[in-house]
Symmetry: C2
Subunit: 313 residues, 2 copies
């Protein structure tokens, strides 16, 4: 049970960013500075036949970080640590990789999600990662009804009252675990074809506000935003201090940006990232040419385009 | 069936406002000009013992419009027309007043909602109103499951495909009816205690985008936004050209602004309204002192506060 009236009223006048009241583990670092464009790339998207080649290309092309998949990450921590030694590249977010469904109808399904998420969070913390990306329920999952699921995650059944929970609301428990591991849980809204449950950045940000845990964060993916949002800038402002990761793809075919010509316009979104002083990564999650040489060329063009659009924003 | 890829891709680069592609009946008027603060007041909120006294006070206090309740409006059109004759006051939005539930489980409940909404829309058009405010389902209503309800309203079960409907998706039908009547349907997101189904401006704007009808619009209410949104400016940017009404109350106790001291800060929201070139009304929906003289004094202070904050924004 927790009353938020006084807190929220006080926060209502604070800046244009989200009224987070400590919504992120690194709020002091992330909400105050001038925004920077730090590019990241998913491991599977980067050109290269193995991790070493991928990291070589990453550095050469001007990327700042790698985004690994979370599946089996605990067994791969040492591999990444060794591969990154002496390089100017960091680990950005960890992309999912857990099993089960945190809002599944079956309690075992929920327990499996919590257990495997915590394993990955521990590994993510060891790698200094921004956070582990989670989707509460893909459409294929057998999930609880919408409102029941949200209350299970956040504990709030009313705006001014957190329902007593034993155990804790799941995202409160997970957020606390993440913060202790030195990382974050990052909610990713998807378009309705993949996750009907959470489609807009505003909804994800609202859950972060409800949870109000230092390890709780959210992200935006330009691909999904193309279909579900009406204004990229508004969406990122809504994310505010809760926003700790961004995914990027071309806006018609979900390939490497530049693939779709004029449609690949991210300037309005970048304006939003600048307005909130965004300090985390913009990371490629998209398809690309099969030929590795061709892929590297497209990635180079992509970096050029994104840097130009960042300057314009 | 309708593919939106090409349209959306083209719209993605257009300004910071919502990529509406003609989302409002008066887009040309509302999206281009410099924003203006035009204050409105619900009939029940304005000081005065009858309509004439209320309109006298409205004009004296510097309000630009009155917001009547929609119940029985068809029978009151002449009354309002006569009362407004020769005055510098207009009708802003019409607040609900329909019966039934547009996403009710019972088809009769849905049919009753559609029928009574259309009656009010016709009257709203006769009065030159901005639009009729609707809430898809208050929590007390027996409504369809979340996704089923949204598809029934908008027709989209996937982002790129409108499910074939016979009859039309309900909001498409209603939006077209509203446009022909010279007015709009205005979706109002409420906080979770009143309407769990639609809580954020982003969700309402997303429905407007899906419906893409000239008579389809949405609004924001600072009271509900206090609890459900993380950033007033982000929320209004998301509304963009779809945004055609705003409700206002003090931010702790839902009374006339100024009642709650420093909590009554609307500057960040006003920045958002200015950014989208908002041209419609900001209308008081809130409680106030029982004594009519006292109420008039508080309303005068409120007008002063809102004008000051608008200047500051």
């Amino acid at each position: 049970m927790m009353r938020r009236r006084d807190f929220m009223a006080a926060a209502a006048g604070a800046g244009i960013g989200a009224a987070s009241g400590g919504g992120s583990a690194r709020a002091a670092e992330t909400s105050k500075g001038k925004a920077v464009l730090k590019l990241s790339c998913q491991e599977g998207v980067m050109a290269g036949r193995d991790l070493k080649e991928k990291l070589d290309n990453l550095e050469e092309l001007g990327f700042a970080a790698l985004e690994p998949h979370g599946g089996g990450l605990p067994q791969r921590v040492d591999k990444y640590k060794q591969a990154l030694e002496g390089r100017n590249v960091k680990i950005s977010a960890i992309c999912a990789g857990f099993q089960g469904c945190i809002i599944g109808v079956d309690p075992d399904d929920r327990a499996k999600a919590m257990r495997t998420m915590k394993e990955i969070l521990t590994a993510a913390g060891q790698l200094g990662s921004t956070g582990m990306i989670i989707v509460p329920a893909f459409n294929r999952a057998k999930a609880l009804p919408h409102k029941e699921a949200r209350v299970l995650l956040t504990g709030f059944d009313r705006w001014d009252r957190r329902k007593t929970h034993d155990p804790k609301p799941l995202l409160v428990e997970l957020g606390e675990f993440a913060a202790q591991a030195g990382t974050r849980v990052v909610l990713e809204p998807l378009n309705r074809d993949e996750c009907y449950f959470m489609r807009t950045l505003a909804d994800a940000a609202s859950m972060c506000k409800d949870v109000s845990s230092p390890g709780m964060a959210m992200m935006g993916d330009f691909w999904h935003m193309t279909w579900e949002e009406t204004c990229d800038m508004g969406a990122f402002l809504t994310g505010g201090d809760y926003l700790h990761h961004v995914h990027m793809a071309s806006r018609r075919t979900r390939r490497i940006p530049t693939t779709d010509g004029d449609a690949d316009n991210y300037v309005v979104g970048f304006k939003g990232l600048k307005a909130i002083g965004y300090q985390d990564y913009v990371s490629l999650e998209c398809g690309g040419p099969k030929d590795q040489g061709e892929r590297k060329k497209v990635l180079a063009n992509c970096v050029k385009l994104l840097k130009e659009q960042w300057e314009k924003a």
